[in-house]
Structure formats: C-alpha cells, structure tokens
C-alpha cells in the first residue's frame, strides 16, 4: 500500500517535472526564434535543441553507439575513430535539477544534479558506458550520486571508464601518465574486438580539425560583433547532439550567412562555470543589462574541445601522443594545479577586441571555479580591468538582483 502511494506520488512528480522541462525548453526556444537576429541558418541548431539533447537521440541521429562523457579531457577524435559517437552529457534544466536534489548534498553541482534529474526522468535505455576524467570532486563522486538518486543500482554496476587525470600539466611524468591513460582508454574502446587504425585516427583528427575551424570562425564573428553570444552558445551547446560533420556543415553555412546581432552593448568576456541549454539565464541577463559577450572560456562554449590536434609526427603514436597532450596541456580547467597560464588565455582573447570587463560566472557548488575566481580577479584588476563575479544556480529567483548588479557593472565600464 505504502509502496503504491509512493509510486503514484513519484509519477506525479515526474510528470510535473517533465512538463516543467518542456516548458523551460519551449520558452527559451520561442525567445530565440523571436529574436531580431534569427535567421534560417540557426534552424538546424534549434531543432537539435528541441528534439532532445540525450545520448539516445544522438545515437538515432548518428547511427553510432554513444560514449557518455563529462568534462572535456577525453579525446573526441579517438572515440570517433573507434566508431563511437562522443556525447558530452549535460543539462541546464532547473526542474531536472530540483528533481535530483532530494538525497544529494545541498551544494552539489547544479549541472550534475540536472543531469541526474534528467536521467531519472528518461529511464535511460542507453547501455553506453560513461568515460569520466577525474577532474573535480563532483565528477569523481558522480557514479555514487547516480546510485543515491536511484538512477542506477550500486555504483559498481554503472559501466564507467575512469581517466585518471594528472593535475600537474607541466611535469613530464604527468604527461607520460596521461599518455598511458589515453592508451588504456584506447584498449577500453577496442575491448569488443574493434580496431582503431592509423588512417581512421588521421581522418578523425581531420574531421574535428574542420569542426574547430568552423568554431574559430564563429568565435571570430562573435568577436567582430556580427554574431550574438546567445546563438554562439546554442551552437556550441548542441555540438554533441549530431555527427561532427553535420554540425560543421551547419556551422559553416551559418558563418557564411549575413548576420546582424539583435543587441549591441558594452563588450565583456565571460569566464567561469559552464552554461548549458536551456539555462540561458546569464546570457539573457547580460544582454538585458546592455553587456555583449564577445568571447568566453567556458568549457560549454569556446572550450568544448581544445582545438585541432597539431603534431609533427603523423604516425599512430604521434597522433595518439599529440591528441593526449592537446587534451591535457591545452585544457585550462581550474581543477589543474599549475593553471596559472589560464589568465593569459583570458587576456589574449580580450586583447585588441576593445573590451575592459570580465564577467565571472560561478555555479553554486562549483568549487574549483569559485576558488579560482579570486586569483583571476586580482590579476585582472592589477591590469586595470573591470571584474564582476556572479554566483548563482539554475533557479531564476536571483535574476532581478543579478540584473541590478550587471547594470551597475555596465556603468563602471562605460565610465572608465
């Protein structure tokens, strides 16, 4: 009897959450479609966002089994060369986040809570494995969080391949260990007997190289003020929902089209925790406050992958080694210890683009970014640049407060 009541209650909660997620998504999509800078070239990306950003949907589109990823350290080229589709699991839904909150620590990462909430609802049929780099504590505890939330049984029952990430990038032994990890990852991908040939690896590198070129073009357009940050974030946000070739073609088509941003404002750089669809609260608030994001270093946006793999040695070992180094040394995730050159990335992207302010987005519970924001603030202020730190979550309750702070920030930039 009690179990029956609980099940019925759960069903009601699930139904309500599901409706809320649909409504969140529809609201954002409607807002995007009604923007003055909407063009038909964005339809592909809107459709991807609309038709479900799940591993199952990506499997249907690509015809390939997905490898579910968190974070950006697993080499996409290697996964693709093995005949899988790399899918970075993410969710920006506040309703999904709330659904998963019960039983989890109050300050657990909202992004992971949202992913867990969405997984609870979907009752995922995908048997595809997870590949998790040991970045932050939340990612390390992710299988346990899935188990606590009844998405999976015991943590051991979840098929996970761990990539043990050396947190010191500059040390030779760290790099050696990481290459070893990537070779172990290759073994994992080929454990069912499939082979990764050098030609496939080279082709895969070329495919992602083209995707990166398209991404750089879009990023340049945004920097020149011809592409709104909102659209840029949508495009990068759906990168994993389809094959990289299809995404690249659509991105190139969009880059070649005539685009005029709907709004123009004071130019700012956006740094910090990732922003995932449909949680575009921060980008919308920035626009409302008259701030225009012309560059960012979010791992959900400009840093969805580290760039094209460049190497002097085109042999299999050369490609593997270059790939592993690109995804390790080329990553400026705050979970690294020797991450001092991250500030150079921010300053380099800001240079010559005529902007003087940095907006640092911290998701409540995202401790690495939270901690790093203080050091970055000091370094930026030492250089005479403006800085604002926005600590928020997926809920919309603090929007008014954030808006007031952002408008004041815009004033300080203008006065400068």
């Amino acid at each position: 009897m009690t179990s029956g009541v609980t099940n019925a209650r759960n069903e009601r909660i699930f139904k309500k959450t599901s409706d809320q997620i649909s409504s969140e998504t529809a609201r954002v999509l409607e807002t995007l479609r009604s923007r003055a800078d909407y063009t038909r070239e964005f339809d592909y990306f809107l459709e991807l966002a609309e038709s479900g950003m799940t591993p199952e949907a990506a499997e249907t589109r690509t015809g390939l089994t997905t490898i579910k990823l968190l974070c950006v350290q697993a080499p996409l080229e290697l996964i693709h060369a093995a005949g899988f589709h790399p899918f970075k699991v993410f969710c920006g839904s506040n309703a999904a986040c709330n659904l998963a909150s019960r039983g989890l620590p109050a300050l657990a990462c909202p992004m992971l809570r949202s992913v867990i909430g969405a997984a609870k609802l979907a009752q995922s049929s995908s048997e595809s494995p997870w590949v998790l780099p040991t970045t932050c504590d939340w990612v390390v505890k992710f299988p346990e969080m899935l188990a606590i939330s009844d998405v999976a049984g015991e943590p051991d029952s979840i098929r996970v391949h761990w990539l043990e990430l050396p947190h010191l990038k500059d040390r030779d032994d760290g790099q050696r260990r990481w290459i070893e990890e990537i070779y172990n990852f290759k073994k994992f991908l080929t454990s069912d007997g499939r082979r990764i040939k050098r030609a496939a690896l080279a082709e895969s590198v070329a495919i992602y190289r083209r995707a990166w070129q398209a991404l750089v073009r879009l990023s340049d357009l945004r920097r020149e003020g011809r592409l709104s940050s909102i659209w840029f974030m949508l495009m990068t946000g759906v990168f994993f929902c389809d094959s990289p070739q299809n995404w690249t073609t659509a991105a190139e088509r969009a880059a070649n089209s005539q685009m005029t941003p709907a709004l123009r404002g004071a130019k700012v750089f956006l740094a910090g925790s990732p922003i995932f669809f449909p949680n575009f609260k921060i980008p919308f608030l920035l626009e409302e406050a008259g701030l225009e994001v012309v560059s960012d270093d979010l791992c959900s946006s400009e840093r969805i992958f580290p760039g094209s793999v460049a190497c002097g040695d085109e042999s299999e070992f050369g490609l593997m080694s270059a790939m592993s180094q690109s995804y390790h040394q080329g990553c400026v995730c705050p979970t690294f210890i020797d991450n001092d050159r991250r500030i150079n990335n921010i300053l380099g992207r800001m240079k010559g683009a005529g902007f003087k302010g940095v907006v640092f987005h911290v998701l409540k519970g995202c401790h690495p970014y939270d901690l790093e924001s203080f050091g970055i603030e000091t370094k930026l202020k030492d250089r005479g640049l403006k800085f604002i730190r926005l600590e928020t979550d997926y809920s919309g309750e603090d929007s008014r407060n954030l808006n007031t702070r952002l408008e004041a920030f815009r004033q300080t930039i203008r006065e400068d």
Binding site: K169, D170, R198, R209, R210, W212, Q213, V216, R217, S219, D220, P306, G307, S308, A310, C311, G312, D313, E314, S315, E316, F317, G318, S321, A322, Q325, S326, Q329, G330, V332, R341, R342, N344, N345, L347, G348, R349, K351, G352
Partner: protein
C-alpha cells in the same frame, strides 16, 4: 599565402639554385651559411664551412698578404649573411635541410613513428656540434703547418654526409666509394660511409637529425647577438597548450617552458617558424626582423593553416 607554403617554395628554390645554379652561371661565393656543397658538380655557391677550413689553414700558413685578406672578406660576408637572415638559412634555404624534410615526409607517408630522443640525451648530442667546430678550427692549421697529413686540410668535409649525399642529386656517386690513395684518405672515406649510413637512418627516424650535430648551426648561433631576424615569444600571451613543442622538428622545449623572457632563440632553433604558425594563442610567438614583426601567431591563422596539413 601560408607561411608553410612560402617556406616550402624558398626551400625548393634554394635547393635548385644552390645545387644546380652553377650550370646557369650562378656563383654565390664561398660564404653561404648553409650546406651548399662544393662537391656537387655545377653548384651555385659554397658552404662557408669549406671556406673556413681552407682559410683557417691558409691564414695560419701565410698569416699575411692577399690570402688573409680574402679569408677576412669571406668571413665578413658570412657574418653579414647571418646578421641579415640568421637561422632562416637553416630552416628555409639549406638544401641538406630539405633532403632531411623529404625523408621525414616519406616516414610520415609510411606511417612510421618518429623516434623520441630524451631532452637529456639531446643536450649531450647537441654538444657534438661545438666539438666539430673545434675540430674544424684545430686540424687544418696543423695540416698546413705539417703536423698532420695534408689530407686533414678539409677534415669536416671528409666526414660530412652532405658530401656523400648531395652530389647524388647531380648524378655524382664517387664520394660513396672508398678512397685507397693512402691510409688517411681510406680512413676518411670509411668514416664518411659509416657516418652517412648512421645519418640516413637517423634522418629517416628523426626530423632534422643531422641538424642536432651541425657545426654551421653552432657557428650561426655564436653570431646570435648580431642577427636581425629572431624568433620571439610573449610569455604573457602563452596559454601553455604545448603545440609549439609538438610541432618543432628539433623538439625544442624552451619555447614552451619560457615564462619570462621573449628570447626563445636557442642554439638548436632553425627559425622554421612552425611553432609560430601552429600556435593558437594570439600574439604569443612571432618572427621579427629588427623591430618589425614579420609574423605573429593567432588562433584564426592556426585554424586556417591546418586545413590541408
């Protein structure tokens, strides 16, 4: 036009002019800071190392007069050429450098892995080039003064793999044969064959393997304070992605490691600028002539230039 295409064009032009130019009346003298081998029939100019060996011997023997003046004038020309183009001679013009690049390209086509040399080992191997400079400076005068057999007059040329390999492109094979004129000649010809064999294997498995030992590179580096053309880095723009290290044919780590000074022109650097081309950080690595920046790295350039690589 992309930097790598310009480099390829200058390398091939350099090869044609320096290897075959003499057949069309091109005479660029004896002070070229690259491996323009005088043993190639119809070459367009001579490598300065040959002149250096000859004039060191001649200068020590004559000490005064026209010989010494000629030696000094060729040296002055060599210094001028180095001051103008620096190590561009190595990365963009040297015919023997291009031959090494062809071997690397062949290795790439065959999918053979490039062998890694540890930094420690490479530092030790790099000292050989300074040893060879000392060898060039000491032996010819001793031969001129009669302390050594006269076949020690060009001791470096006699063991230089350029002498055995470059003439092959002009159909000249005799430097691959043993020379039985006397014991010294035979010793040198055996040494040349052994070194050529080692270098061929080394150059196939490792980019620019010979350049690690090249005494001309050492000599050009000694003149570094005079060179107008330099590779530089803005450490504050570097994001530490390590691309520069991966694409460097000499596996130089200093560009990546440098965090304070703009000077990244190490003794092994060939000024090929591959690091600057591939660097995805805006303005982090560049090539300059005096104060004029010839090239600066940028993300857009790096993305675009890798299209067909």
């Amino acid at each position: 036009m992309k930097v790598r295409n310009i480099r390829s064009v200058t390398q091939h032009l350099g090869f044609l002019i320096l290897m075959y130019g003499g057949r069309f009346g091109v005479r660029l003298g004896s002070a070229l800071p690259c491996f323009a081998c005088p043993f190639v029939p119809g070459c367009g100019g001579y490598c300065y190392l040959m002149g250096l060996q000859g004039y060191i011997g001649f200068g020590m023997g004559a000490l005064t007069g026209v010989g010494l003046m000629t030696a000094l004038s060729w040296f002055a020309l060599f210094v001028f050429l180095v001051a103008m183009l620096g190590k561009l001679w190595c990365g963009w013009i040297c015919p023997f450098g291009l031959v090494q690049d062809w071997l690397s390209a062949l290795r790439g086509k065959l999918g053979v892995r490039e062998r890694q040399i540890t930094q420690r080992m490479k530092r030790r191997m790099a000292m050989v080039k300074y040893g060879l400079l000392a060898y060039i400076a000491i032996l010819p005068p001793l031969a001129t003064l009669g302390f050594l057999h006269e076949d020690f007059y060009l001791p470096f040329c006699d063991i230089c793999p350029g002498k055995s390999l470059l003439p092959l492109f002009a159909g000249e094979t005799r430097y691959l044969a043993l020379n039985f004129d006397n014991g010294v000649s035979l010793g040198f010809s055996i040494a040349l064959l052994v070194i050529t064999g080692i270098m061929l294997v080394g150059m196939f498995f490792k980019d620019r393997f010979f350049c690690i030992f090249c005494p001309l590179l050492a000599l050009i580096h000694i003149l570094k304070p005079l060179t107008a053309l330099r590779l530089f880095k803005l450490p504050e723009a570097c994001t530490g992605c390590g691309t520069c290290r991966r694409v460097c044919p000499m596996d130089i780590e200093d560009v990546y490691r440098q965090r304070t000074s703009p000077d990244v022109q190490t003794d092994e650097c060939l000024d090929c600028a591959k690091c600057a081309e591939s660097c995805p950080a805006d303005g982090a690595i560049g090539l300059k002539f005096l104060k004029f920046k010839l090239f600066l790295s940028s993300r857009s350039y790096a993305a675009d230039s890798r299209k067909k690589s």
